[in-house]
């Protein structure tokens, strides 16, 4: 094991290489540029390929092409690039192509603030493309070290489920420095809980079987298997077909291969002070969860019965954590409230749901303590930011 003081971009690069990624196509965008740069340096050393796309849409299509050629491939971007994936992301979902996609969140909409963290793509990662009739797997680490592990896990899941997996990070994770331990061999990888799944080749004749089963090898071209893949509704052999019944089978697979095998990743969460049925559950993901954890520990010392639930597996949304009727507070890096809507949906009807949003900067511990205090007293939170700006 080697220890470094390095950025999340470094950790993600090393994680991807450990997972067997040998192809990266990207497009420069803050704050994911350094990841592309690190890949451009590291991949050729490993015999891997780094190229730049003419835009993000092309970049993900290039990755799709590489995956079709049998490579483990990835791209990385931020919100304004992620929206340009809509086209290839849908194709990859439909054709069941394993890919790893990293999104480092910044302040939006559009270009917004380039160098500050945001969490504006919670729902976008659930619906990265049009048409519906699919589930997506989205994982959100909260540190550089964990980002490395989650990237390895995302590659693993993408192979087993035959689908793109988005890792939703934020600018503080990708740009921030941290002490990072990198395993140097398979034994150390195992020790750190890293799982790997090799690329297998589907030999046909059923390339798109009507089943919710996982571990079906994906389509790989160039082996004369007679594989077909397209953007149209496929028959089991991959022919295009305009038939609702056939599409129903296909959609069923896209939805239920993931829903019915959530046990493979729904253990990805962290609970702090959650054993004694706390009066307030603070829900968050990504970097804000680290401040939440500190604040919750402090609140406990102050005698507040507060617990923290940190989601790593964001989608499919883990409803099972929200069965208890209690008070919830969603802490997010956006001002519109995204995660909070899902908490509201998943929690029992008369639970009290609260939202604390900041954007561009993390919430502070005093902010959080104040919010906990108010909620526990039965008061509602004001939108302080708005009031300060005179809105």
């Amino acid at each position: 094991m080697k220890r470094y003081l390095e950025t999340g971009n470094f950790a993600i690069t090393e994680g991807a290489i450990l997972a067997g990624c040998r192809f990266f196509a990207g497009y420069p965008i803050t704050p994911a540029t350094e990841l592309a740069e690190a890949m451009s340096y590291r991949l050729p050393q490993m015999g891997g390929i780094y190229i730049q796309g003419e835009d993000e849409c092309a970049a993900l299509h290039l990755c799709i092409g590489a995956a079709l050629g049998g490579y483990k491939a990835m791209t990385a971007t931020s919100g304004p690039g992620y929206i340009l994936y809509a086209d290839p992301y849908g194709w990859a979902i439909g054709c069941e192509i394993p890919l790893m996609i990293l999104n480092s969140g910044r302040v939006g909409p559009v270009s917004g603030i380039t160098g500050a963290p945001g969490q504006g793509e919670f729902y976008l990662t659930r619906y990265p493309t049009q048409g519906g009739n699919f589930e997506t797997i989205v994982l959100a680490p909260n540190s550089a070290q964990e980002a490395m592990a989650i990237v390895v896990e995302a590659f693993y899941l993408s192979e087993r489920f035959r689908t793109p997996v988005t890792v939703l990070a934020d600018q503080l994770i990708t740009d921030g420095f941290e002490d990072i331990s990198v395993p140097e061999n398979e034994g150390e990888m195992e020790e750190m809980g890293f799982r790997k799944w090799p690329r297998k080749i589907n030999r046909g004749p059923e390339f798109y079987p009507a089943t919710d089963e996982i571990d079906i090898p994906p389509v790989v071209l160039g082996h004369n298997t007679g594989a077909l893949c397209s953007d149209w509704t496929p028959t089991e052999e991959g022919y295009d077909i305009e038939e609702v019944a056939a599409h129903h089978k296909h959609a069923y697979r896209l939805i239920y291969k993931i829903r019915n095998h959530r046990d493979l990743f729904n253990t990805l969460y962290e609970k702090t002070f959650m054993d004694d049925d706390p009066d307030l559950v603070v829900v968050s993901y990504g970097t804000p969860s680290r401040v939440v954890n500190t604040a919750v520990k402090k609140a406990r010392q102050m005698g507040m019965k507060v617990g923290a639930l940190r989601l790593i597996n964001l989608w499919p949304f883990p409803d099972e954590h929200f069965t208890r009727k209690t008070k919830y507070l969603s802490v997010e890096l956006n001002w519109d409230g995204q995660l909070v809507r899902e908490v509201q949906r998943a929690a029992p009807k008369d639970s009290k749901i609260n939202f604390l949003g900041t954007c561009g900067d993390l919430p502070t511990i005093p902010d959080l303590i104040e919010a906990f205090t108010k909620i526990l007293r039965g008061q509602s939170l004001e939108r302080r930011g708005w009031e300060l700006e005179g809105w």
């Binding site: 220890r3 470094y4 003081l5 803050t30 603030i113 380039t114 160098g115 500050a116 540190s143 600018q171 503080l172 740009d175 921030g176 420095f177 941290e178 002490d179 970097t287 680290r290 401040v291 954890n293 500190t294 604040a295 520990k297 561009g360 993390l362 502070t364 511990i365 005093p366």
Partner: protein, 178 residues
């Protein structure tokens, strides 16, 4: 009991604020600490100050934010004004060449470190001010081993090893033995 050490450094772009954080962070990693170091945002680079937030601890670090710095290194007036209020029990180290206007109302300790002038005086140019400041910190921050900090300086800055060693010593001696 104090479980974590927080250091905030802030100044203009080009003063080496991020590098200073990187050197301290790397020394802490070498000493087996868990470390986070957030470098400033792009907006801040254009808006007057760059910021490094260094946290190290024997325990895993939750919040990487420096909300109550043990040491605040202020290398510009804008940075000083922006973050002075964060310091409660800690200490402000400021370079009087840049922080020309002190808030005497603060309760915390504020120590001038004329790193820029000392660099010019000793080496004929200001580029070693950062290393001088690191020498001061190596002396003050009890959790850090001065030899390890110096090693990290020499590792992170591949050039001018002799000058950097001397600058480190100049800084280390400035506030007397710890």
């Amino acid at each position: 009991m104090k479980t974590r050490t927080e250091i905030l450094a802030s100044g203009f772009g080009g003063q080496g604020v991020v590098r200073l954080g990187q050197i301290l962070g790397e020394a802490a990693v070498k000493q087996g600490y868990r470390v986070t170091m957030l470098k400033s945002h792009g907006t801040e680079m254009r808006g007057g100050y760059v910021r490094s937030q260094i946290v190290f601890s024997k325990e895993p670090i939750d919040s990487p934010m420096v909300e109550s710095p043990d040491y605040f290194v202020a290398l510009s007036l804008a940075a000083y004004k922006a973050f002075k209020h964060l310091v409660k029990d800690g200490m402000i180290l400021y370079d009087p060449a840049f922080v020309v206007q002190l808030d005497e109302g603060l309760v915390c300790v504020q120590k001038p470190v004329p790193a820029k002038d000392m660099s010019v005086e000793n080496f004929g140019r200001p580029v070693f001010a950062n290393t001088i400041m690191l020498g001061v910190l190596a002396n003050l921050v009890e959790e850090l081993d001065p030899g390890t900090v110096l090693d990290s300086i020499l590792h992170v800055i591949p050039k001018y090893h002799e000058e950097n060693k001397k600058a480190f010593e100049v800084g280390y001696e400035l506030l007397g033995k710890r």
